[in-house]
């Protein structure tokens, strides 16, 4: 609820594992709210649902959040820390060996920027840092809020390739976007949202 109005209503959604789903809609359509609900960042006021087998109405949301990965378009890390420091923080928090950083940085092609402060990265590089954070986490469910915003064609292609790889390895990915994906590599399920509802599917 926001200002007495429901953020989402009548949303009937089932996600299968190892799939890519795109939520499309204008600003205020409810895409981010749906992603935040799936991530356990906001609670369920009414209705029912489960994510990764956890009942949204009764789950300890911390338990759910440990199993999902979130990448927001506004930046998902500490601007004053370098690329390496951000990832080291995440790795230590997750109890991952620091040796994994090198592989992850190579995978997102940020090895040469490891000592650069996050605030000095371009929009595309910031998105790659967000992806690196998620690759370290290895979540079962990836929730990406408008990851294509302000990305150039090269950035989009890179993003598509990585998402395709992640889905192929068994992860479930949900992406929000203003427009349907024009990807040659991905054939996602597309859900169109408006007014907090899913109005069509293709």
């Amino acid at each position: 609820m926001a200002g007495g109005f429901p953020l989402l209503s009548g949303v009937d959604l089932e996600l299968t594992s190892s799939s890519l789903t795109v939520l499309v809609g204008a600003n205020g359509a409810g895409k981010t709210s749906l992603l935040r609900l799936l991530a356990g960042l906001i609670g369920l006021n009414a209705g029912e649902g489960s994510v990764l087998g956890l009942d949204l109405a009764t789950v300890d949301r911390r338990q759910l959040r440990r199993r999902v990965g979130w990448l927001g378009h506004e930046g998902s890390f500490y601007d004053d820390l370098s690329v390496e420091e951000n990832l080291t923080f995440a790795a230590k928090a997750l109890g991952r060996p620091l040796e994994e950083l090198t592989n992850v940085l190579e995978r997102v092609e940020l090895s040469s920027r490891r000592d650069t402060a996050a605030k000095q990265l371009s929009a595309g590089q910031r998105r790659r840092l967000g992806l690196a954070w998620l690759l370290l986490r290895r979540p079962e469910l990836w929730l990406l809020d408008e990851p294509y915003a302000s990305l150039d064609d090269e950035g989009r292609t890179f993003f598509d390739a990585l998402l395709g790889d992640v889905v192929a390895r068994g992860a479930t990915v949900v992406v929000s976007a203003h427009d349907p994906l024009r990807s040659a590599q991905l054939c996602p399920r597309t859900l169109v949202m408006a007014g907090g509802r899913i109005v069509s599917e293709s």
Partner: protein, 219 residues
């Protein structure tokens, strides 16, 4: 919990060292506020007034409010809050880490302000040194209470103005105990009872923070 606390404290201190907000903005603000306090006392009162400890703690509160807001602004962007939330860190550890980092920042600032107090307000050096351990404890308690209230107000549109309104009543007993113990150290008097009150306050705020921080973050 301790592992998370060390991780979070290290991260907060590293960010503070990089941004240099403490060094170039907060500490100079505190020194200026102390100078103005000295001017307000006037040349005849400085060195004779028992107001110096109170003025020191008044400046500490102003500085602490800036630091608390700053400490929580680190995670203020929605994306950062969300992705850190999905790391599943123990909230008690996060509280202890943030409070520890804030305490270290307050201690460093207090060293500068105590030196300034000796120079500007002419507080006795020996008395100031005697008061230092109790000041460290009081600042630790302010860091604990401030971290808790910072979590309560952070993310809101009026966080910067709401924080002083809510936290000052919680700081009040700490400031009174701090002022009294500092005065006792300078001019003679009972130190032990204020010490006990300070340590109890530190323990209470830390315990409350460990218990409540997760709830406040969720809300």
């Amino acid at each position: 919990m301790i592992r998370v606390a060390l991780l979070v404290a290290g991260k907060d201190l590293r960010i503070e060292r990089r941004s240099r907000v403490l060094l170039w903005q907060v500490v100079p603000f505190g020194v200026m506020a102390l100078l103005l306090s000295g001017l307000a006392l006037g040349p005849n009162q400085v060195g004779h007034s028992s107001a110096a400890p109170g003025l020191f703690y008044l400046v500490i509160v102003l500085v602490a409010l800036l630091m608390i807001n700053r400490s929580h602004a680190i995670e203020s962007t929605r994306g950062t809050r969300a992705s850190v939330a999905t790391l599943g860190l123990d909230p008690a550890g996060v509280f202890l880490g943030k409070a520890a980092a804030l305490a270290v920042e307050l201690w460093l600032t207090a060293i500068v302000l105590l030196a300034g107090s000796v120079v500007v307000l002419h507080t006795a050096l020996h008395g100031t040194l005697v008061a230092t351990p109790s000041i460290l404890v009081i600042l630790g308690a302010i860091a604990g209470a401030g971290t808790l209230y910072g979590a309560l107000t952070s993310g809101g549109s009026a966080a910067a103005t709401l924080l002083p309104v809510l936290s000052l009543p919680a700081f009040a007993p700490l400031l009174i105990a701090g002022e009294r113990s500092f005065n006792s150290a300078l001019h003679g008097g009972a130190l032990l009872e204020w010490w006990v009150i300070s340590v109890v306050a530190l323990a209470v705020y830390m315990a409350l923070g460990i218990l409540l921080y997760g709830v406040l973050e969720e809300s």
